[in-house]
Point group: C2
Chain length 642, copies 2
């Protein structure tokens, strides 16, 4: 039986006994070793590069590995079969998504400010009322031989008197503690109450003087990143926040590949476990440790995720989501028991999933829409969530149209040869001198961190400055010569941001014409979707009163750059704002407030879902938009090409 030794770092090696002929990727997956596989391991993305240090493998030559690298032992883990004892170096980048991802999480001051603004807006509008979880103090007379009401009747009566709610139900969890807690505290207790339609559940009971915080959990399950916040349900305070890579990533970068993987043998359970047990459960553990609370102090959770994420979270059969006629199992779900979805949680805690509105417009967008308050304004607004996909809502207090455009993962560094997620070594900001063509880079990581690749914001900056300085044409073809502009034997040009000697891993960081093509198609998908929706309503870009961008694409969005290359309509900059992780902001609001919960359901119900692929004229719009900034230059009067 051959042995594979995975060398993860100088200190850590993991040995695994395998069958001869097994795929390296499968061995890694079943051994809990994380190797990034945005394409789900079918050989197309080229991200699962590992280096064979010794031993025999069977591995084809691929366009993703240069001849030189191949000679040095570099292989794609998904295309390599083990034929004997093998030692494999797993480079840090291959599992980088597990740690240190820079996302729109609440530890980022910009994101936090955006989050706070959103909550202030929602409060001002008046949708943060009707708390979902609240407490009440009861001071009761102890029973006597003349007052023999049983404990549950006594407590329910007191809660009725205290809350004015007639229908009070004691849960089994609280009943199990009741007799002792009442007698230890001389019938003066604090109850944790949860509203449910017209009744109120007593979900817990404890001493009046308990300092125990009453907590809730807001979670955004992104295709790439899961972000969670632990919330004080009485004050709304953020007690802790944390994020982690979605453990499903090793089964595919995008929702389609995830669904395909989930359809394989035991796939549903594998993907459910990857996000629940490998991602969310540890994240909740981290939050509880940070805030010094017990898991049982979490009495409610709200989870926002796209349609695929919510299906995989629950372990649902998701193939119908991706296959015509694209029918999800559910849009709206009733409140579940949290412990049925996240094992080990409080048995009476409820779980709200934010509603989906279509196969590709899910609960992350409805939560985000709630947060951006576009639905509360008379002027036309545009809300765009730039995640692994791009989703768009166009509307106002009068109507709401939404669509998803298959932008692909370019904005998260996918589909780009040197693309990477926004983690250590990612170039997140770029300026290119128009004269010298020399770049100035800002790299994520500790001081002196050398670049490894480009994340979404870095790509936008690069493309914008290449275009502005005429290094590339409007079609994304190289048009100038210079030290940093190189051409391969087939004449394909590329711009080198970091030469081999300047990079962290000795590999050149560059952007080539294939990358530019992929990127332009991604931005074209978004812009043409915006334009199509506007035109269907008989409107023009100039009619848009405000544009709100959500998502986590590294160093945030440089709006002038994004307009220059035609991602967004050419509008005055003051109309744009970045609202951070709007999905998490919305989940937080819904967690706290039943009014917000009702509002998001109302919003989801009133959204008109536009399936772009069914719309006549979409392909024409798309093709017209695959140009920098656009074939119709009148749309971009201010696009400043020098």
């Amino acid at each position: 039986m051959p042995k594979v030794s995975f060398r993860l770092s100088e200190k850590e090696t993991i040995d695994v006994n395998v069958e001869s002929g097994e795929r390296l990727m499968d061995i890694a997956r079943s051994s809990g070793i994380y190797i990034d596989a945005p394409c789900s391991g079918n050989g197309t993305c080229g991200k699962c590069r590992v280096q064979i240090l010794s031993g025999e493998t069977d591995s084809p030559v691929t366009r993703h590995i240069t001849e030189e690298d191949y000679a040095a032992g570099w292989r794609l883990a998904c295309e390599t079969r083990v034929m004997g004892d093998v030692t494999v170096l797993v480079p840090e980048t291959a599992s980088a998504f597990r740690t240190g991802i820079r996302t729109a999480d609440l530890n980022d001051p910009t994101v936090r400010a955006a989050f706070d603004d959103v909550q202030a807006d929602l409060k001002a509008i008046g949708v943060m009322g009707d708390p979902a979880i609240f407490t009440c103090e009861l001071h009761m007379d102890p029973p006597t031989l003349d007052d023999t009401l049983c404990d549950s009747d006594r407590v329910e009566r007191a809660v009725r008197a205290e809350t004015g709610i007639a229908d009070v139900k004691l849960t089994l969890y609280a009943l199990r503690k009741l007799a002792e807690v009442l007698r230890e505290n001389d019938f003066r207790v604090r109850c944790v109450l949860a509203r449910d339609e017209d009744c109120v559940h007593i979900v817990d009971v404890g001493p009046v003087k308990s300092k125990k915080k009453i907590c809730g959990l807001a979670i955004d399950i992104g295709t790439t990143t899961v972000t969670a916040a632990l919330v004080d349900m009485e004050t709304g305070d953020l007690l802790a926040k944390a994020s982690a890579g979605n453990g499903q990533i090793r089964y595919g970068a995008d929702v389609i590949n995830r669904i395909i993987e989930s359809g394989r043998e035991n796939g549903r359970e594998r993907l459910r476990k990857a996000v629940v047990e490998e991602t969310i459960v540890p994240l909740v553990g981290t939050l509880c440790r940070k805030a010094r609370i017990y898991q049982k102090q979490i009495y409610r959770a709200c989870i926002a995720g796209n349609t695929t994420m919510s299906h995989l979270l629950l372990g649902l059969y998701a193939d119908p989501v991706r296959m015509e006629p694209f029918i999800p199992s559910f849009f709206y779900s009733h409140e579940f028991r949290l412990c049925d979805v996240l094992p080990g949680m409080h048995p009476e805690a409820g779980l709200i999933l934010t509603p989906n509105v279509g196969s590709y417009v899910g609960g992350d967008i409805t939560a985000g829409l709630l947060a951006c308050t576009l639905w509360n304004r008379d002027e036309l607004g545009l809300f765009i969530d730039l995640g692994t996909n791009g989703e768009i809502v166009l509307g106002s207090s009068e109507y709401l149209f939404t669509c998803a455009c298959s932008a692909g993962p370019a904005f998260e560094g996918g589909d780009i040869s040197c693309g990477m997620r926004a983690t250590n070594g990612a170039i997140e900001e770029v300026r290119i001198d128009a004269e010298t063509m020399e770049p100035t880079l800002s790299v994520i990581g500790p001081k002196g961190q050398k670049p490894i690749g480009l994340c979404g914001s870095g790509i936008i900056d690069t493309v914008a400055d290449l275009f502005r300085s005429g290094i590339i044409s409007a079609k994304g073809k190289f048009a100038r010569e210079g030290k940093r502009v190189r051409y391969d034997e087939h004449g394909m040009g590329r711009y080198v941001l970091a030469f081999e000697e300047e990079s962290a891993d000795g590999r050149e960081v560059s952007i080539n014409e294939v990358d530019l093509d992929n990127f332009i198609r991604a931005k074209g998908a978004i812009f043409s979707a915006i334009l199509l929706m506007l035109r269907q309503l008989g409107l023009e870009p100039a009619d848009i009163g405000h544009v709100q961008i959500a998502g986590g694409i590294g160093g945030g969005i440089d709006f002038p750059n994004a307009i220059t290359i035609g991602i967004f309509p050419d509008l005055p900059l003051e109309k744009f704002s970045y609202i951070g992780n709007s999905s998490l902001s919305g989940a937080y609001a819904i967690l706290l407030s039943r009014q917000a919960e009702a509002k998001v359901r109302e919003l989801a119900g009133s959204m008109t879902y536009v399936e772009l692929s069914n719309e006549p004229g979409y392909m024409d719009e798309f093709v017209s938009a695959c140009f920098l900034p656009h074939t119709d230059s009148r749309l971009f009067p201010n696009s400043e090409v020098k």
Copy 2:
């Protein structure tokens, strides 16, 4: 470390390593070896007799073991400490309660007939409507690009149309199966629906042609015996029935000893496990095997038990039930999730506990009251449940009074030197020839079974014939001489039903004056309670229109005998009927019908609970009733003393 070898039979020996000085009873308990301990193991009942075959023990001389038996190694397990390697014979009788208990279960034709009568009555009255669980067939159009309703909306819409109920909720369990089941069956499916207040839950979904039965579980948790029935929720058919000894018995025969034990370290969990994991879970397994169904086909359960049993089932702190002012944690509970109480059951199945009305009048009595339909008649009725305790309901369609009398376990063979439960070897019927004083015995067990002791019905028969034939006086003292009447050195008389050579285990089976005293106090407790309740209402026994007796006391009740010795009022025999296990009958009705569920709650709410110990005159009534048949002979004009 000493070793104890428990010899359970010729074939089965269990070896346990122990600490020197450990109690044999504790060792047996922690090793899962059942030794009956009606008194909870405090040395008072003398039932935990075992024989030390070899090895050193420390064990006091006790009144429960004769000198001769002590010499032969007989000891009480609860008073014996192990001092070295020991071999212990555990006689079959010590664990007899585990198997073969003759109870009022549905396999007995009399009980089954009574059960069927009860259900026919309830149907005739019209309280069996509004089924709790039902199915509906849905034939839906599959989705298309023009009809993109998601699966859950499609199914909920179809259920609304089919049932006319507006509020339809899909459970997580059904959602998890939905997409696949719909597509595998071309959108023609059968849903299992559960009503809950004004809404209906879709708890399961499967193929239309599924032959899978939709089942429910009715359980009566008696202090001594647990009886369960598996029910077809669509037809009401009894698919299987079974009973087993309540595994808590080794922690005490009566509710008081159980509560005391539950108050010891880890006691709540120990008693909960004894009834749940050691008793009910295996019983449900047996039922499922018998009926060839999966546990997940059980969609609802109704459990009836006395107040203590329901508290211990849920793992509640039960001390307040037995201590002044006698306050249970709950009377009425909202519907629980069955899997929260019985692990491994269907996650969406509901559990109904029949309501308690006082510390000593519990859900077994409310269920029994529902079943006996006394509440639906204009004439005054008396309902008596002769279990480990005796509970009484007196009333009519106009009012309902109830009380519990601490009759003790005499009717189940407790508190009687040769008393035993109604299992193999128990004398269940006795006739004594008034002339010769020779007995004719009917013994439970295979043909030729020799007697071991007396169960409740055998005791009643014995006392009645001893009294009729003048062998004992009205005070329960021996008054005649003969071969079978013996006196000990203190002059205490006894009647020998089986001499040593006639018995199964070589020990005489007899009833002595202490036994008679205990029995007379037990019957006095019941009769005086009846009389006190009548007198409080200004009524006399003759006002009673009908008497219904429930409970399992062996061979059923011989009413003439019971009247002769003054257990029940002296009324025409046609006024008496035996209704078997009324608690299970009621639980069955409530399981099937939400109307029955509402009815039992209404009944519980309208019952007036009389705490006898608070009633002036109760002690006088009790003392007057401690006489055969009664000190006031006018109450028993027909008591036929020869």
